[in-house]
Every structure is written in C-alpha cells, then in structure tokens.
Symmetry: C3
C-alpha cells in the first residue's frame, strides 16, 4: 500500500475569502490543522447581540482543545506582531475586525495600513479569513458603501501579500493564487 502523501506545508500567509456561510472558517481551520498542534485562534467578533453570541459559540464548539484562543476586537495588528512562529495563527476574521474599527470611528485607512505592515513583517504561518462583500447591488446607505470599499481594498492588499488565496463557495475552495 502506498502511504498518503504528507499535506503541503502551510505557506507564510493564506487568505481564505468567501461569502456568508460559504464554509470559510471551516476550511481555514482544516488548513491550519494539517500542521501539528498547538494552533492559535484569533477571534475578532464582538458579542454585541444574541445572534452574534450564538454564532461565536457555534464556532468555538467546533474547535478542539489544541486551539489557544486569543480575542481582539480592534488591535489586530498588535496581536499579529506577537505571533510566535512556527505555531500557525488563524485570524477569524478581517471583516469583523474592520467593522469594529469602523464602528469605533477610528481611522480606517491608518488601521488597515498598520495591519498590512504587521502581516508583511510576520514570519507566519498565518491564515486570514475575510468576506467578499462587493458582489451585490450598491447599498443604499453611505456607511455600507464605505465599508464595502474599505473591505475590498483590504482584501486586495492582503491578497497581494498572500502566498495563497482561496475563494470559497458552497463549502468548496477555488484557488485564486
């Protein structure tokens, strides 16, 4: 019997992009757990309502104990700078972080530039999850349009840095890079 080939090593930076409920988090977790534990999980969600509390609980229940969970709502760049290679770090997700930054009325462009700088300097491996939000009709309200623009720019910047970019649809990965 021929042994299965070893899984490909995680590259320095992977971006897992996709829509809502496209299986992004699950796929990112599967990528990280091809490496030996421990693994670091960076949660950026703010549990500001029941719907979000429920979603966070569901995600957490899926992760076994080999995960160390760190939480940050706004200071993601600082946390990335503390990343100790070679423990893989999963960031779930850039969209919630960006939304926290915008709602806190911080300087979005500066925060994104700082995050990009931190990611560029990190030794990895890091897997970042993010939403693609620009494929619907132009939103009515200006904040949603500003968010959509900021998210699109951030995704482009992270994708440019990334060694691997995957677009998820219906739980299936499509390699963009």
């Amino acid at each position: 019997m021929v042994p299965a080939p070893p899984p490909p090593a995680l590259p320095r930076l992977t971006l897992v992009l996709g829509g809502a409920r496209s299986g992004k988090s699950r796929h990112a977790e599967a990528l990280v757990t091809t490496s030996a534990p421990p693994w670091t999980y960076v949660a950026t969600a703010q549990a500001f309502d029941e719907e979000m509390t429920e979603r966070i609980a569901q995600h957490k229940a899926r992760r076994p104990d080999e995960w160390q969970t760190l939480e940050t709502t706004h200071d993601l760049a600082a946390l990335v700078r503390t990343h100790a290679s070679p423990t893989p770090m999963l960031i779930d997700c850039l969209t919630l972080w960006l939304s926290n930054v915008m709602l806190a009325d911080r300087d979005v462009a500066a925060a994104c530039a700082d995050l990009i700088e931190a990611l560029a300097a990190a030794r990895g491996p890091i897997v970042a999850v993010s939403n693609e939000v620009g494929l619907g009709i132009v939103p009515d309200n200006a904040l949603a349009r500003a968010f959509r623009d900021a998210q699109g720019r951030l995704n482009q910047d992270v994708a440019a840095l990334a060694d691997r970019v995957i677009l998820m649809a219906a739980g299936l990965p499509l390699t963009l890079k």
Copy 2:
C-alpha cells in the same frame, strides 16, 4: 471527419450555483438535455406577483415539449422521493423553495434536513439550481440575514452530496467540483 465525442453522462447529482441572471437555469437545462428525453422539470416558483408570473412564463416558453413539468412550492423532498431513474430531473430552484418554506413559517432546519435525506437517497440523475446570495453587504433586516444563512448552509450540504458543482457567472460555467 472525426465524429464529435458523446456528451459526458449526467452524474447522480449536479448543483448549478450562481447569482441572479447568471444563466443558471439555461445551463442546467443544457446539461439535462444532453440526455435523451423525456426530462422532468420541477418548478418551485410561486406566482404571487406580476414580476414572478412573467419570469415563470419566460422560463416555460424556453422549454420544448419533451419536458414534463411538476410544480411544488413546499414539498420538494416528497417530490424528489417519487423521482423515477433514469429520467433526468431538473429542480429550479432551491432558493425559491427555501424562500417558500421560510415565508410559510415552517421549520427550516427540519425541511432542509429532509430534502438532503431525499437527495442522498435518490438514484438520479438530478440537476439542482440554487442561488449564491452571500457575497453582498450584510442585509439590514433579520429575516434576510436568516435566509442568507439558511441558503448558505443548504448550498454547502447539497454541494457536499453532489458529484459536480458548477458556479455560473455571466452565463459561463466554472467547475468547483
């Protein structure tokens, strides 16, 4: 002259995924009609307004007489269980069915689980059309968010069962699986 190769046989279950007006129905029909007739068309649309009546009429006008049309607004799983192989069955579409189920205030999770069970047991060939709805900005209202989540989960579950998954954009197919 070299004769054209025969079209590939339809697998047990195909999912044709895509946005609004992406050519999903047309592509699904083209897949089904590579087999010899007759073909079964399962319509899940409810003609509750003029816009939808018009859309149903347009779809119907495109289909030749070799199609037998069955209509179901809510009981899609039951209809899938009556499917007689090897006549190909086209389900158009899961999104309208899911929306009917939600608007009727039925138990969405149970209805989806029942449909998945029926699809898993079917001998096929079945081609199911569904919308990808999660690639825009988070919707304002809770019902739309719940729908988006339910649709995403259903698409993932059907895609996991399917032998072939195709994402349509601008009338062009992209093979995900």
Copy 3:
C-alpha cells in the same frame, strides 16, 4: 539569459467582470497597456455627487498621459462605432453606463441591444469592465431588482461575444473564458 516572452496580443473583445473594489479597472488597464500606446479610455461615470467625483479623480490620477480620455454618459454604442482599430479601447464601465440609461428612463432593452450590435461589429481590441451585482440577497426595491436583471442579461450578452472573460476577486483574475 532567456528574454521574457512577449505579452499575449489583446483579443478583439475582453470582458473584465467583478465586484466593487475588486481591482477590475486596474486589471483592465494592465491588459490594455501591454500593447503599445496610444490607448483610448472611455469613461461612463457621471460626477453627480462628491463620492463619485472623488472616485473619478482617483481613477484618472492613475492613468499616464498616453491615454486619450473620451466621456460618454448615455451614447456608448455610438462611441464604440467610432473606435479606430488597432488602438485599444477600454470601456470603464458598463455598469455606470447602464445605470445612466436606466435613470434617464430610456428603453433599457433597446439600448443594450444597440450596444451589443456595436460591440459585435467592432474590430477591437476592446476591453470592457462591468460589475457582477447578482450575488447578494434579492434587493427590497423594484428598481434595484430591475437593474440587477438588466445588468445580468447585459453581462451574459457581452460575455457571449467576448473572446476572453475574466472574473476579479481581491485583485486577482480568474479566467472564465
């Protein structure tokens, strides 16, 4: 040292499709500027508010002087008919043009048919940018739904004519055709 291979010649018609802030314009410009200058840039944006004025200025600042800029808000078909081959023409973008046509209450189907006829007759090379807008939740208002349908149909028709169709996500191209 082996010299880099020459860039592939631009085909008669290329469609660059994508979401908001997906890098469509930048990629389309990169495709055009693989050819020798001059290049024609067709701007369809109407600067009816500050947000749009800013966006137009950003796009313009990125383009060097080898670009000749033509502006048209509604009569894109006429402008395509004046295109003098072999100077590459970049149309940025079909979505703004379609939105101008709809807001002016013109006959959308006739305008689209006229544009398709002009594109079919053009010798090219032409690169057209367009938005994919159908991958979110069904919009609440009827005008947005009508726009989404018209845009989907136009994208399908242009894609059918095109020699090459590219879907952009996070600044990365995915070849559909």
